[in-house]
């Protein structure tokens, strides 16, 4: 009833101003003529409630003056909602009036009146006709209203479509364009008439054009969507042949059982242009800033490096302040550029499976120096011993560096920063907790924004660029992780970030963590054979990864160091022998030891061929004999890693321990002083130099400048070395933190890099 009421309420004002259109006029005339003839009446009329009194909508035989005189009677019918029949009328010539109210939604809205010069009555049949005609006339009115409403609706929709800034194109399942809005015309440069009926592929450049029909068919058949239901960037083709970047979102609709697609197209030429300009701007600015900075940093570095001894203490102190701030400015510029690259998605992560616990330890060691300066201790809480994650090590270390240095900065002197690792179902949480003054709650919403620090005086007091947490958040999110914190005033702050746990997906996966094991690559298209090989190798303490195709193998060998390649010859993409040739032609893998594992016998022709192209260590025929394989691999590994190492170290105990660690894998020679080291370097050749920092006759680093061959150096000292020395050596280890495995792995890695 309420609905009916509201319908009537909405119809009433419309009806009071209703002007019948031509259709309605004709229809009313027909109805009235029918009524007049059937009931043999001289006059009939239809009236509605107008704005002021009643209004005649249609009449047959009734003049205006008569209608006017009859208004009070019509009003009475409308007001009472009851049919009215009279023989005494205010008009002397008339002796019959009958008024029938017409109801809409329970409300009397119109009156159908009958008039005669003589008094008369209406039979039941005549009454029924009267009622039918009244209903018919009401229907005519409603039809006209519905038509007006739908026109208004359409006009509104059209107005919206015509004014949106996106191009909108509707196509059918064959890709035939059914409709488009003016913006689509503007974007593509076609008039609507040129597009309608054409195929949507006319608006696409290759390769989208050829793919498109196939794509719609596949979507309809399988529901596989690439743009449907999701927006994506692609290229559009204008009438003039220019190709432009656009964003396309497509929706699938069913209209009258027909598949239709609506594409919303946005021209993003301008946005792309802005992005490009921004990039250029940043590149230019960074260059313009770095040019003077190069001079300032250079001048300060030279004065402090070369004339430091002859400077008055005060002057030296001031220059050091200048130098420190210059470094800070360099970091700031790098941070800004980093953030820009990160947020613009230009940074490709170099993902590797690593042990997060080891990485955390590494981060703690790297930041211990900074913590010491602030008299703060970094402590790793007891937790899991090994947690595999697939991350970009460098970037995660950057996350640690930010979180740890923040925690240290805001810790009281003598305080502690606790680092915890918690495995939770499919993710791992890293927690960094300080016991400092806490972060004010009002700062929460801004903490991960750029250039934000809780207290504007912080920048000066605490150092830092205000970009750190913003970078951290971006990096964590790029790893599909999340970061947040909890804080209590005067109690401390806990930052935590979650990373997805890496779950083994390939046969060789668990070994990926064991960096100390020698590692080989198995190139084998049959997964079962590869698994067997991998298991056999694992039993002999050799880790392995698998590549299923020659192309994969080639790529993996370029990326990571492997001690040997186990190669199947029948590969899906190219023949194994071709791969060997490719490796041979590519410097980093020229010396790669290859063991062929094949069902093919090693025939004479192949033997002579491989003898000249590459040292193929061995040829193991399938089915694989475990002992035969072991022998071949052992041989290959021996060829690879036995190196002559010079260890410069004055502490006899350290020499003994290190000798014990290295002796069975490498040739170990030591020197007790810088002078002795120089002498040994002149008289013998070495593959690697293991160097202590503090020696009786000088610092180990002073050897670095005088090494005339490119001898890789691993610093092996009591504490973390400075960044400048670090930049000149292949690796740096702290004695107390270095296990045998770590030392061997580092040496292997460095030799491998140098070998490349």
């Amino acid at each position: 009833m309420q609905l009916a009421q509201s319908l009537a309420d909405s119809l009433q004002p419309w009806l009071s101003q209703y002007v019948p259109d031509a259709n309605a006029v004709a229809s009313f005339a027909r109805w009235l003529r029918l009524l007049k003839r059937t009931l043999a009446l001289p006059m009939v009329m239809l009236s509605v409630r107008g704005v002021e009194g009643v209004r005649t909508l249609a009449a047959d035989g009734v003049d205006e003056a008569t209608a006017h005189r009859l208004a009070p009677l019509v009003t009475r019918v409308l007001e009472t909602g009851q049919p009215l029949m009279l023989h005494e009328l205010p008009l002397p010539a008339l002796h019959f009036y009958a008024g029938l109210p017409i109801f809409l939604a329970g409300q009397p809205v119109a009156v159908l009146s009958l008039l005669d010069f003589q008094p008369r009555s209406l039979s039941a049949a005549e009454h029924a006709v009267w009622q039918d005609v009244a209903d018919g006339m009401l229907q005519t009115i409603q039809q006209q209203r519905a038509a007006v409403q739908s026109l208004a609706q359409e006009a509104r929709v059209r107005a919206v479509l015509n004014t949106v800034i996106d191009g909108i194109i509707t196509i059918d399942a064959q890709g035939c364009i059914q409709a488009c809005n003016p913006m689509a015309e503007a974007i593509f440069g076609y008039a609507a008439a040129e597009m309608l009926g054409g195929n949507i592929s006319m608006l696409m450049p290759e390769p989208y054009r050829s793919e498109h029909d196939h794509y719609l068919q596949r979507y309809l058949a399988t529901g596989q969507a690439r743009v449907i239901g999701v927006g994506r960037e692609m290229s559009g083709l204008r009438k003039d042949g220019t190709v432009f970047p656009m964003e396309l979102a497509v929706n699938h609709l069913l209209i009258d059982g027909q598949d239709m697609f609506t594409g919303v197209v946005r021209d993003i030429t301008e946005r792309k242009q802005h992005e490009r300009m921004k990039e250029e701007f940043i590149s230019t600015v960074s260059h313009e800033l770095r040019t003077p900075l190069t001079s300032i940093r250079g001048a300060l570095g030279l004065v402090l490096g070369k004339f430091s001894g002859s400077l008055p203490d005060k002057a030296k102190q001031l220059l050091e302040t200048a130098s420190r701030n210059c470094e800070r400015l360099c970091i700031l510029i790098n941070d800004i550029l980093d953030l820009e690259k990160l947020t613009a998605g230009h940074l490709a992560l170099e993902l590797k499976v690593v042990d997060l616990v080891a990485l955390t330890r590494q981060a703690i060691v790297a930041n211990e120096g900074y913590a010491l300066q602030h008299a703060v201790r970094l402590r790793l809480l007891a937790g899991p011993t090994q947690v595999p994650v697939r991350v970009d090590e460098h970037r995660i270390l950057q996350v640690f560096a930010n979180l740890l240095s923040n925690a240290v900065k805001y810790s009281p002197r003598g305080g502690e920063v606790q680092i915890g690792i918690q495995v939770q179902q499919e993710q791992v949480r890293v927690v960094v907790q300080d016991f400092g003054r806490g972060i004010p709650e009002h700062f929460r919403s801004r903490i991960f924004q750029r250039f934000s620090q809780a207290d504007s005086s912080d920048t000066r007091e605490k150092g830092g660029t205000g970009l750190g947490l913003s970078i951290v958040k971006t990096i964590v999110e790029l790893h599909e992780g999340r970061i947040d914190y909890r804080s209590q005033t005067q109690q401390g702050t806990t930052f935590f970030f979650d990373l997805p746990l890496w779950l083994p997906q390939t046969i060789s996966a668990p070994d990926a963590l064991d960096a100390a094991l020698p590692r080989v690559l198995i190139c084998e298209d049959n997964a079962d054979v590869a698994r067997v090989l991998s298991e056999m190798l694992a039993q002999d303490g050799v880790a392995s990864d698998r590549a299923a195709t020659a192309a994969d193998a080639f790529a993996m060998l370029q990326r990571a160091p492997y001690q040997a390649l186990l190669l199947d010859l029948g590969l899906p993409d190219v023949d194994g022998l071709t791969l060997i040739q490719q490796l041979r032609n590519h410097p980093p893998t020229r010396e790669m030891s290859v063991i062929v594992v094949s069902g093919r016998a090693q025939n004479v022709a192949v033997a002579s061929w491989h003898a000249e192209v590459l040292p193929i260590v061995d040829w193991v025929q399938k089915p694989i004999d475990r002992e035969r394989l072991k022998q071949a691999v052992t041989q290959a590994l021996k060829l690879h890693i036995r190196a002559r190492i010079l260890h410069v170290e004055d502490d006899a105990d350290v020499v003994e321990v290190t000798r014990a660690m290295l002796e069975d894998q490498h040739e170990y020679v030591y020197a007790r002083s810088v002078a002795e080291a120089r002498e040994k370097l002149q008289t013998g050749t070495f593959d690697l130099l293991l160097l202590d920092m503090l020696l009786p006759d000088g610092v180990g680093a002073c050897l670095l400048g005088s090494l005339d061959t490119h001898l890789p150096v691993v610093m092996f000292s009591n504490r973390e070395i400075g960044i400048e020395v670090r930049a000149q050596v292949a690796a740096a280890l702290v004695k107390a933190n270095t296990s045998r495995d770590k030392l061997l792995a580092t040496i292997r890695q460095v030799l491998q890099q140098e070998g490349n």
Partner: protein
């Protein structure tokens, strides 16, 4: 035998820093050029072992200088590296694709510069 280097940079201050940074190194001899065209003349007259080039220079920039040096008779194999602030990975890849043996990032630490140059040279000959 010392390493003969031509360093090309339009910034006089940076040329000065590089001079200071390398002048005490017994194994290096450096001469400075302030522009690509000066470098072309100097290198043609007396080819060095290694050319170090700034990238953004007015007139002829570093990459075009390198191309023109390589077009000179007998200098198609000249060994060159860039000293530049343009060290985004894509930029470094571009420089290497031009045939540069490496890139030294600006701002550099002048105390480490000799080692960086030696390192570049050694790695090229490794």
């Amino acid at each position: 035998m010392s390493l003969r280097i031509v360093y090309v940079d339009d910034e006089p201050d940076i040329r000065e820093i590089v001079t200071f940074a390398l002048e005490d190194e017994a194994d290096m001899q450096v001469r400075m050029c302030a522009s690509g065209s000066e470098a072309l003349r100097s290198i043609q007259a007396d080819p060095p072992d290694l050319v170090l080039l700034d990238v953004m220079m007015p007139g002829m920039d570093g990459p075009s200088t390198l191309r023109q040096i390589r077009a000179l008779p007998g200098l198609s194999d000249v060994v060159a590296a860039f000293v530049t602030a343009k060290v985004q990975p894509s930029e470094v890849d571009e420089f290497k694709a031009m045939g540069a043996i490496g890139v030294i990032a600006k701002p550099f630490d002048p105390m480490l510069l000799p080692a960086q140059v030696r390192d570049l040279w050694a790695r090229h000959h490794a």
